[in-house]
Symmetry: C2
Subunit: 310 residues, 2 copies
């Protein structure tokens, strides 16, 4: 049992929705309280930014807000991060399953699995291998770190495009965003693993698609608006690139009847790189860690940079 | 140019079919000759066992026969390996792409990609991850070695079932075939990476399928007859296991109208774990290596054990 006099007071809200998170707070020695007594709030509803704003107005003593997601642009758009509190998110928590999904989708494309899944007859010999190939990853955060680790056994030459020029373990080279066109020009595949910001919105447009090889693949496990959807539809129709695998789309959910649904060289998963079944144990572990760290006065994991918005 | 007086005389037959292999012989310092002058024969037609038998009768001086495939059971069945010659095959050459195919198919099943490929509408959140999971591999040869290397970044607990009890790098444990039922009982997935012999034919039957978890996956990148097809059809229909991915089938090619084609939890690829595009550079490298080794009097790679038949 946590000592009530020293146990960190934590509110998990909206109430009653996430018992595994309440368990995590208790397991870490925290004490579940109402928001007006809390030093930390764990906020569990990604769609209710207004509810969180109101909670924080009513509970000015809250020092730390823990969000559960890696993508927190809806909260950034509301300007919530500028309140002088410490904000933490699920950054890095979901990196491993998301990177795995990127590999699953890329290998599926290279080995023609979408067509095989639709087939009812023995088909032609066709398929390519990632082994010994060249991959370019846009973004150099947690997903890319996980991706590089998972690809270690595949003898892949990886170029990472990111703002920081610092090398990354497992990447053959790291280049800056102004070198994007060169970095994708000879790649077998391009993987999007970026945060969504004003600078990365629409980063994959007709010009970038045209710079890719016509036998190259595009994989998006980041956010739908990184890709200019109409440009991608045209590129897939015209054979500008070989194909695409999208776990995120713009608009999302992708509406019935959208042209992407009928393009045979487009594989779509409904934002399932990281499903509830995969996420629950991972985010519970993050909440446990941050309750323990705050209790011990240590820096939290997954801190949001208010200026960057993620 | 190879010195004609010392260059190894090699015949590539049936003639004219594989110029990249003739290139490989020349690049390794060999000399292309007719079979009646050859010390080594590179045989290129997997379906013409009788042609090879006749060639060897007519060319008794041939010392080494180089086959191009990892699976050489059709030659074993004809008793060709008992002639006192040295026989080599493509064992190990194709291991990397075949292991990659096993991972591609397993991740595709776990992340529901066959259903997503058929969908024309945003679907439900569903999918599981291999990360932190348990995998059992039947067979402990080259494909398994490659598989263990490729899985190194996925934090998978791997049990290998094989005759030799020697540990394998990357495997949590190696057990003998008489422990198969225990080894598969708690696995998230079972991968078949065996040679086809009298002992391994039909190794996956109703009893073994029943011993698997009902949410477990089966992946076969070895040979079709390892699986009793009718037993698998029943298991997939009745939910005895979650699903299967087959790169090889029995019969093969799988005929149109076969029940496996219509089972939604069965993904079939038409023996494309290792396609011509992937294989050509790999087998050419093996032929080069063995011509060089025989020239230097060194042991060849990929030797066939006449008694084991592979």
């Amino acid at each position: 049992m946590a000592d009530p006099s020293t146990a960190l007071p934590v509110a998990v809200r909206p109430a009653g929705t996430r018992s595994h998170l309440q368990d995590a707070v208790r397991e870490a020695g925290g004490r579940l309280v109402d928001p007006d007594e809390a030093r930390m709030v764990v906020w569990t509803d990604v769609s209710d930014t207004e509810g969180l704003r109101q909670l924080l107005v009513d509970a000015p003593q809250v020092e730390v807000v823990q969000l559960l997601w890696a993508g927190v642009e809806s909260f950034a758009a509301e300007g919530l991060f500028d309140d002088g509190r410490t904000w933490a998110c699920g950054k890095g928590v979901y990196a491993d399953p998301v990177a795995e999904h990127a590999i699953a989708m890329l290998l599926a494309l290279m080995r023609d699995l979408p067509a095989r899944a639709r087939a009812t007859s023995w088909g032609p010999q066709w398929g390519t291998s990632l082994i010994g190939g060249r991959l370019t990853v846009l973004g150099g955060g947690g997903i890319t770190e996980s991706l590089l680790g998972q690809l270690a056994g595949f003898d892949v030459d990886v170029t990472v495009v990111r703002r920081s020029a610092a090398p990354m373990e497992g990447a053959a080279r790291v280049v800056s965003p102004d070198a994007t066109l060169e970095a994708i020009g000879d790649a077998d595949a391009v993987v999007l693993a970026l945060a969504l910001t004003d600078e990365t919105r629409g980063v994959i447009d007709a010009e970038v698609l045209a710079a890719m090889r016509d036998d190259a693949w595009l994989v998006n496990v980041a956010r739908g608006p990184h890709v200019v959807t109409d440009d991608l539809v045209t590129a897939l129709r015209d054979g500008v690139i070989a194909g695409a695998a999208l776990d995120v789309t713009d608009p999302e959910p992708l509406p019935d009847g959208h042209p992407l649904w009928t393009l045979e060289n487009c594989l779509i998963t409904p934002h399932t790189a990281n499903t509830e079944a995969m996420a629950v144990p991972l985010i519970a572990a993050r909440v446990r860690a941050n309750v323990q760290r705050m209790t011990a006065g240590e820096p939290l994991i997954g801190l949001i940079d208010a200026e960057l918005g993620y």
